[in-house]
């Protein structure tokens, strides 16, 4: 069980916990604004863009080439941008903080 903190563009803060699945699925289950996940989690639509807290970014497995390319031209892209569908809850460090990009 990992605790994950989501902060939306409206500065709403959600402290969630889960055992499995992706950050996108967790966000969708809790109806977090700005995470659409239209493609169902297959790295095809870039509607689940998040920023990982800089302290946590290096602790996650690296993004695939396709994920990086999908992010490259997104609005609000940063050095710690990820697609939430590609980050597994089980890989998240305890207390992971992510900010929803849109």
């Amino acid at each position: 069980m990992s605790q994950i903190i989501f902060i939306t563009q409206n500065q709403e803060r959600y402290e969630l916990s889960a055992e499995s699945g992706s950050l996108m699925e967790l966000a969708k289950a809790n109806r977090i604004s700005g995470i659409d996940g239209d493609c169902g989690g297959v790295c095809s639509c870039a509607t689940c863009h998040i920023h990982i807290h800089p302290d946590h970014f290096e602790q996650l497995p690296a993004a695939s080439e396709i994920e990086l390319e999908m992010l490259e031209l997104e609005d609000n892209v940063s050095d710690t941008s990820r697609l939430a569908c590609q980050v597994k809850v089980q890989d998240a460090p305890e207390g992971l903080i992510v900010t929803v990009a849109n």
């Binding site: 109806r31 239209d38 493609c39 169902g40 790295c43 095809s44 639509c45 396709i66 994920e67 031209l73």
Partner: protein
């Protein structure tokens, strides 16, 4: 007085429209109706992981059940709409319920085509692949067999994805296509060549140029007879030969239809307060200035969000650039744009990886569409170029020594 919105069809389009209405502040009642009894689910996995893994359809839900109740969306699953009566602004359900409306959104989608050929109606073990129930039936049939032999009719995306998923399970798959090559309706030769080679490398037996003429039952198997006289006996046959938009309700209600329900740039049908979206409707795409009917999640979802805003009093025109994806084996195809009407192509093969390919469709100098294979960079840049109407140097584009530039 509180408004009443009825959404007919609870797949990607209908469900997104309901949630988008709440997000935009719609205060009235929302009734979301679908004949499919399952909690609305993601459709793309049906031909992929839902087919070859053992998870229930509830694992693929678009939203958890609680989300509908907390957003005050009334789900009517397993119910069929019999009639829309625009004069009285009511709809009639097969349960006998009559629901009044202020707005109706038609998100009725499309139905998989089963060809009408001799023997089809009598034969068992013939399947289409469009709904969760279709796939459950296919999986049950597969489980009842030791080493099932599968024939797939139609080498479009459904046929190819189904072939890939079933090869992953190790089953023998033969894939038949009426046209002289696969993906003939949707992609150019270089894209088709890539996928032909991919499927052959994974052991799919590909038979282009084969037109089915009849089928017959042979014991517990099915025999397919082709127009050239050849035959194939299989344990089951899956048809991926296309869909028919579900327009009956619209036609009976007096809405104008073409290849689908005709909608204007606001996604409004020919009758006031009736909107339509997704696979069931046709519209003139402003970028391409041609009548299109688009079968994709993106189109349904984007039209759904726009309709929600227009119901809430905005007056937005739909101009989203269409995009699409298909995952087969470890290959990802991403398409953007509409390639209809192209008259020249640029094919780009990246130097670092021979699995990376992009096919650029032009009408004269104008970029219409891109197929990006294992190459998300070509996909995102192609999207950007089209949005900017950028004039591209085709020689540079084709030259893999020159990186694609922003």
């Amino acid at each position: 007085m509180n408004q009443k919105c009825i959404i007919i069809g609870a797949s990607h389009g209908g469900v997104n429209c309901a949630f988008a209405l709440r997000k935009e502040g719609y205060q009235g009642s929302i009734d979301l109706i679908d004949a499919d009894p399952n909690l609305p689910y993601h459709r793309p996995p049906l031909s992929k992981t839902f087919l070859n893994e053992d998870l229930p359809i509830s694992q693929y839900s678009l939203w958890a059940e609680e989300s509908y109740s907390s957003e005050n969306i009334n789900l009517h699953l397993g119910k069929r709409v019999l009639r829309i009566l625009p004069e009285s602004k009511t709809i009639v359900l097969d349960t006998g319920e009559i629901l009044p409306y202020d707005q109706v959104v038609l998100a009725t989608g499309a139905k998989a085509i089963m060809p009408s050929l001799p023997g089809i109606e009598e034969a068992k073990n013939l399947y289409t692949l469009r709904t969760a129930a279709d796939v459950v039936a296919i999986k049950e049939r597969l489980k009842s067999l030791q080493n099932p032999e599968i024939a797939i009719i139609g080498a479009g995306f459904i046929g190819l994805e189904t072939a890939a998923s079933l090869r992953k399970l190790g089953h023998p798959v033969s894939l038949y296509e009426r046209e002289e090559r696969i993906l003939s309706r949707v992609a150019a030769q270089p894209t088709a060549d890539y996928f032909s080679a991919l499927h052959q490398a994974h052991g799919v037996q590909l038979f282009p140029g084969k037109t089915l003429s009849s089928v017959s039952e042979t014991g517990n198997r099915v025999t397919m007879i082709f127009t050239d006289g050849s035959t194939k006996v299989a344990d089951l046959a899956i048809f991926g030969i296309g869909v028919r938009p579900a327009v009956r309700l619209a036609q009976e209600a007096g809405l104008t239809t073409d290849s689908g329900i005709l909608i204007d740039d606001h996604c409004q049908s020919s009758i006031a307060d009736i909107y339509a979206l997704g696979d069931c409707c046709s519209f003139i795409h402003p970028r391409y200035r041609r009548l299109v009917r688009i079968e994709s999640v993106q189109n349904a979802v984007d039209q759904a969000k726009l309709i929600a805003k227009n119901i809430m009093g905005q007056s937005l025109s739909y101009e989203a650039l269409p995009w699409f994806w298909s995952d087969q084996y470890d290959t990802k195809l991403q398409m953007v744009g509409i390639n209809q009407g192209y008259d020249n192509l640029v094919v780009r093969r990246e130097l670092d990886n021979d699995r990376k390919l992009s096919v650029w469709y032009f009408e004269g100098t104008r970029l219409l569409a891109v197929d990006a294979i294992n190459n998300a960079k070509a996909y995102v840049l192609g999207t950007k170029y089209m949005k900017e109407d950028r004039l591209l140097d085709k020689e540079l584009l084709a030259n893999p020594e020159v990186p694609l530039s922003k």
